[in-house]
Amino acid sequence: MTVVANKLECVVEIGDIPICLRTDDQRFHDLLCERYAGFLRSSQPELELDFDLISPGPGSDDDVRVSRQGAEWLLERGDFQARWDPRTGRGRVRQTPNPYALDSVLRILHSLVLSARGGFLLHAASGICEGRAYLFSGISGAGKTTMTRLAPPDVTLLTDEISYVRPSPAGYRAYGTPFSGELAKAGENTMAPVSALFFLEKGPENRVDELAPVEAVRRLMRNILFFAEDPELVEKLLATACAFVQTVPVRRLTFYPDSRVWDEIRNFEAMPTNA
């Protein structure tokens, strides 16, 4: 914890992007430190967010609205309003002191930052098995949480809900995130090269099927988190999705929900890819 001119701050680093979160409210600062405990760093922040707390009011279940106002991004929901300037890397958030608003602001901010860097946040569980990351995506109920619950002890959970993917010179990497779903458990703060992305479907047996590249892009675009009705952003994400599909094997994984599905994952590398 650091105190700067009556401000309390901490640096939360997700996906190798350190963000300084600053507030003058001790309880809110404690909430930040507790919620992102595994992701606190002392590194120099790349981005900064100042928080002003407001009283809770009606409308916190409103849809998120993200729009561009000049050079700035405006992020709004019933329980928060934030401005972020990508030129300076600084932003200001007015929000109620609840952790869901906090998570939402961070997720949107990361999705905007990643889009400019060829990465994305994906509705997917992910884990590291034998040094390689595997992503499991699909609609609600497809089996993301089930896959994480069935994971053997040697699998490191990166997330059961929101996967963090960004490119590196050696290929795509998946990072752990504190954004949890039904498991209500933060992922590990680590990363690994992405070995495959599976779109999940439950079925009577375990099998892996090819997906045509365009179908893979269609499914990927359906599950990438993005919030803005912004042509430039969509253009970038579509280019990113195409690049990802051409680099990383993307498959449909039909699975019967028992632990044998992870044998299928371990054996996956022996299979040919369509990259």
């Binding site: 045509a212 590249p213 365009v214 892009v217 269609r218 675009m221 359906r222 009705e229 912004d230 042509p231 952003l233 969509v234 253009e235 994400l237 579509l238 280019a239 195409c242 599909v245 051409q246």
Partner: protein, 103 residues
């Protein structure tokens, strides 16, 4: 018969992958895959070339399709994409807009 002019909306993103054109509307996230003929029409939608000329010069010659059938198919395709806000349609040239580049 009045001419029809078509132009690509600036609210879309488009990308060619494995020989197929993908088009996505940024306003509602609808996603389309275009076949070869539709892709040729899409790429020719510059706002100033009449649809009839696009069909004659790009479609009939390239794909060896009956002109009447090609015109009918093209009009249906244009109608569908315009309903989704992906193509702009006018009976006058759409000179003042610039179609986005398709990669």
């Amino acid at each position: 018969m009045p001419e029809t002019y078509i132009a690509r909306s600036s609210a879309i993103a488009a990308r060619m992958l494995a020989g197929e054109m993908m088009v996505m509307n940024s306003m509602d996230s609808t996603f389309f895959t275009l076949n070869e003929v539709a892709t040729a029409i899409w790429q020719a939608a510059d706002g100033s070339t009449p649809l009839r000329e696009i069909v004659r010069e790009r479609i009939c010659e390239q794909f060896d399709i009956d002109p009447e059938q090609a015109q009918s198919d093209a009009e249906q395709f244009v109608s569908e994409l315009s309903q989704h806000g992906i193509l702009l349609v006018s009976d006058h040239p759409l000179h003042d807009r610039q179609a986005p580049e398709t990669r």
